[in-house]
Amino acid sequence: MRYSGLRLFAEALRGNTGWKPAWRDPPPKRSYDVIIIGGGGHGLATAYYLAKEHGITNVAVLEKGPIGLGNTGRNTTIVRSNYMLPQNHFFYEKALSLWEGLEQDLNYNAMVSQRGVINLFHAEGTRNAAVRRGNAMRLDGIDADLLDKEQVRALCPLIDVDNGRFPVLGGLMQRRGGTARHDAVAWGFARAADQRGVDIIQHCEVTGIDVEGGRVTGVQTTRGPIKANKIGLAVAGNTSRLAQMAGIDVPIESHVLQAFVSEGVKPLVDQVITFGAGHFYISQSDKGGLVFGGGLDGWNTYAQRGNLPVVDHVWSAGIAMMPSLSRLRGLRQWGGVMDMSFDGSPIIGKTPIDGLYMTAGWCYGGFKATPGSGWCHAWTIANDAPHKLNEAYRLDRFRTGHLLDERGNGPYPWMQ
């Protein structure tokens, strides 16, 4: 069923009785060409691009619960490509270009809104770093504009640009950045993949990965064994556990990142704005709630909930940047479990086990990468080799020393 304005109109006249489920609920077959473990945005996107770009449609996506309830439903919905390292430029720019055409491609309203992303700076050192990053972006053809204090004030009058402790000197703006509707991304990819023949199997938890002679042969699940010669992992937060089922250790620790939504208010914040003197970023959803987040709680955890010290830090940083937030009530707060890699950059590629692939280690950046991650992961699975765009994200870079440490933090996952 194709969605369109005409269809919406016709259904309204018929009392909305003609809508069908957006994807099937098939039982698992005994074998597939490719199994994708993890029915979040990355896994569903991988299945979609396998079918669309490579004609591989005998694919199952296995999800332990309902799709999209992991990190896909737990992020702050920001899309951007404002990185400094060239390897990250090309990959995230690919992802952003896929976002720009996603709704037409999927025939699904993912509410992609290129409202602009502004990174504020408050001191000369951080201004220099922002200028350097902006120039690096522009050299690779990515849009970046340097804003001065008055331009920031004009774009968002609520920001306390004259704050005594953290005065705003300006900001680095990527106008093509913005937000998307996170649930719609999962649903849109699920529906589009399903239409191309992919089986989306929910409530099917993988309990083992079968490896014979260094090759994967299938998986054990709560709904029985399923055979496949190629398996892709897209299980952010749990990559270590799944990889250990296949007998490999990955350079990843699991950490929790919290996010928050305030009560709904009239339009206050037109862009995505990040504070430069603490960990805080904010945007406003179409329902009016302010959506914001901060840094990691900082210790290994698999629990999807955080602790109060970070709640305190995030609100404090927000109020320092935008004092009127102090009058708002928080409505919801939640945590998602991140794969924190040892250099802050993701892993998309082959593993030491033949036929086992992964898209993992997404740290804070998983949502914005969703279509690019799926696209590159699908290419890698279809060709049994990484695409040029994700070659730098190989798992063995930690052995060869080709690290991608965007922030220069060193091998400490909780500090990335």
């Binding site: 270590s240 350079p251 210790w299 290994n300 955890t301 629990a303 602790n307 010290p309 040892f342 930690f398």
Partner: protein, 91 residues
């Protein structure tokens, strides 16, 4: 709020401490293989369960502690001095 029973200072809130990662990894000796150093820097069990980890009590006694904490419940089961190895529950 995680509360840690520091052997030197008593029970304190997590905000007094800085997390310093997995305390089961041991630096290889001089002349150890590249593989051993790779594992020391990058290989982690990342368990869903009991985890032995370093916490630095920066706002207290400024000692490094070994803490046994559960990564699903966040329960702190044992706290030991840096030179000791606390007992890790089986389950």
């Amino acid at each position: 709020m995680i509360r840690i029973d520091c052997p030197w200072c008593g029970v304190r809130d997590e905000v007094e401490f800085t997390y310093r990662g997995d305390a089961t990894v041991v630096r290889p000796g001089e002349g150890a293989s590249e593989e051993a150093f790779h594992d020391f820097v990058y290989k982690r069990a990342n368990p869903r369960g009991w985890h032995v980890e370093w916490w630095y009590h920066g706002a207290g006694c400024r000692q490094f502690l070994k803490v046994v904490r559960h990564t699903m419940t966040h329960e702190v089961r044992a706290v030991a001095r840096a030179t000791e190895m606390p007992e890790v529950p089986a389950e």
